[in-house]
């Protein structure tokens, strides 16, 4: 039997987004008020459940509480002359936030959740505000938790959220699902935001930890949510596949001392088979929906890695082809660097080095530590030790996270140790 506290926590995690999504709509798009109403409902539960025992229908209890809070709020705000509107809002709240009959699941309004998803990811909001809003409302993280996840002080995060909510209201960002002609572009925006959450968790750009698993888990929740709400968009399935396949390596990717373990040195027994199975199924679904976009290509690459029992079984030739297509579709220095690494594995380090040289002369990655790191690795494999050492040193001058620094230092030490014998 679960305790009232754990039951409340689970209900909160599962239902916060859905409840708040509908309350925002019935309150006319007021994010701030909606959030407070839902918070108050959960705060009541936090006091009452442990004292009086958990209700038989926790979900219905919470929706009823949120509804009462919303009605109270509107009534308190009623001014003479504005009565009609307030009564209308109250009627709408009472009708639409009706608790489910005993024993049945509250489905909520999937359209509201979709509205919330698109509004949080509106391109008129800064990316960091989009991410913060999505985690706060859809995932139900507290402001403190969101702040912690992004290593900023809670006051900064609170301000960021308030500013975003104010912009939604004052700039007229509508609480709607975009029109069909804008849906594709806006869906790409949603995917980008979800991916931002995941990559911040998977490859933290700053700080002592390499991997922030909670953030990856939240990104997966958002990805699954988007997948269920937009079942016909191939790239949505692909992004979910991509995240699952990367997430499946989380236990193998970080060494006991917190250091980074690269793919070819990972203990593949630690890979999460269930995540791989689900990821491959999502990739199949994406391909069946006609997926050929950037997330599909990246998921296909991750799938080829996931399917190799040993590093030497990896189908590098196909991975190189997929990266080439990815370079055409969404060109960028980081993608080209990955392509160079794949080409090096498929056809030999000298071919990869030629691509790295091109990238270096283009001058687009001058302060990115992975460029000299990749060069160092290729030179090492070609036996050009002195040049490899110089490249590792250059990478070390640019690296930002502690685990990646340690990783580069170890590689350099290995090389110097080998050179001395």
């Amino acid at each position: 039997m679960s305790t009232p506290a754990s039951l409340l926590e689970r209900t909160y995690r599962e239902d916060h987004g859905r409840i708040v999504a509908t309350v925002i709509r019935v309150l006319g798009g007021d994010f701030g008020a909606a959030e407070e109403v839902v918070q108050e409902a959960f705060a009541d539960a936090l006091v009452q459940w442990p004292r009086e025992g958990a209700p038989r229908e926790p979900r219905a209890w919470l929706i009823r509480a949120a509804r009462n809070k919303a009605v109270d709020r509107v009534r308190r705000g009623v001014r003479l002359g504005a009565r009609v509107d307030a009564l209308e809002v109250v009627a709408r709240i009472e009708q639409e936030l009706a608790p489910p009959p005993d024993g049945s699941e509250w489905e909520g309004f999937p359209d509201d959740t979709l509205r919330l998803l698109f509004t949080c990811c509106h391109p008129a909001l800064a990316p960091e505000a989009q991410v913060a809003l999505a985690l706060r409302t859809l995932c139900g993280l507290t402001t403190e938790e969101v702040a912690h996840a992004f290593l900023v002080p809670p006051a900064t995060m609170a301000q960021r959220l308030v500013r975003a909510q104010r912009k939604i209201r004052d700039a007229g960002i509508p609480y709607i699902v975009p029109e069909p002609d804008a849906l594709g572009e806006r869906t790409r925006g949603v995917l980008h935001t979800v991916y931002l959450v995941f990559s911040e968790g998977y490859a933290a750009t700053d700080g002592p930890e390499l991997l922030r698993v909670e953030l990856c888990a939240e990104a997966l929740r958002l990805g699954r949510l988007a997948r269920s709400l937009l079942p016909r968009h191939a790239e949505v399935a692909s992004l979910l596949a991509l995240m699952l396949l990367h997430h499946s390596r989380r236990r193998a990717r970080v060494a006991a001392d917190g250091g980074l373990v690269l793919l070819d040195r990972q203990d593949r027994a630690l890979w999460d088979r269930e995540a791989i199975r689900e990821g491959l199924a999502e990739l199949d679904a994406a391909l069946a929906l006609g997926g050929r976009g950037p997330y599909t290509l990246q998921a296909a690459i991750a799938a080829l890695h996931a399917q190799a029992a040993r590093p030497e079984d990896t189908d590098w030739a196909q991975i190189a082809v997929l990266y080439e297509r990815l370079c055409e579709l969404s060109p960028g220095p980081v993608v080209e660097l990955n392509r160079a690494a794949a080409v090096a594995m498929a056809r030999g380090p000298e071919h990869g080095l030629a691509l790295v040289d091109d990238l270096e002369t283009s001058g687009r990655l001058t302060d990115y530590h992975l460029l000299p790191a990749a060069r160092a690795e290729l030179l090492r494999r070609m036996g050009r030790v002195k040049e490899a050492v110089a490249s590792y040193r250059r990478a070390l001058a640019l690296v930002k996270t502690a685990p990646e620094r340690r990783f580069l230092e170890e590689r350099l030490a290995e090389l110097l140790g080998g050179a001395n014998t």
Partner: protein
């Protein structure tokens, strides 16, 4: 809601255009303006003389300071604006992206601060 769309572009780009090219852009502006008039979104708008004609005024300690030029030197300059009525920011963005200069400079979309007559 009402929005002001302010249009920014490097004036040198405009000066560098040939007469035919400039005429073509002007034609595009006429078509655009005509379009938002017909759709009922147009409330107003003007093209401005180059920043070389600008004068900036400040009152400090009760004294008027008048200086030649814009309030700040920027790479792109304010060249004109529209005042439009739009349902929401999505519609305002869609209209802004049809302004010819959106392809060569940029357009800023700003909601107008509405004075509330009734807080209800």
């Amino acid at each position: 809601m009402r929005y002001v769309l302010t249009i920014y572009e490097n004036e040198k780009l405009w000066e560098a255009l040939s007469k035919e090219e400039a005429d073509q852009v002007m034609g595009e502006y006429f078509t655009f303006t005509d379009g938002i008039r017909k759709s009922g979104n147009y409330l107003g708008g003007e093209a401005l003389q180059p920043v070389a004609t600008a004068t900036t005024v400040r009152i400090r300690d009760g004294k008027r300071l008048t200086t030649d030029g814009p309030f700040a030197e920027t790479k792109e300059q304010l060249g004109g604006f529209y005042l439009i009525e739009a349902e929401n920011i999505d519609q305002a963005i869609a209209i802004a992206s049809r302004i010819p200069t959106a392809r060569t400079g940029c357009v800023e979309v700003r909601p107008v601060m509405e004075v509330m007559s009734d807080q209800g």
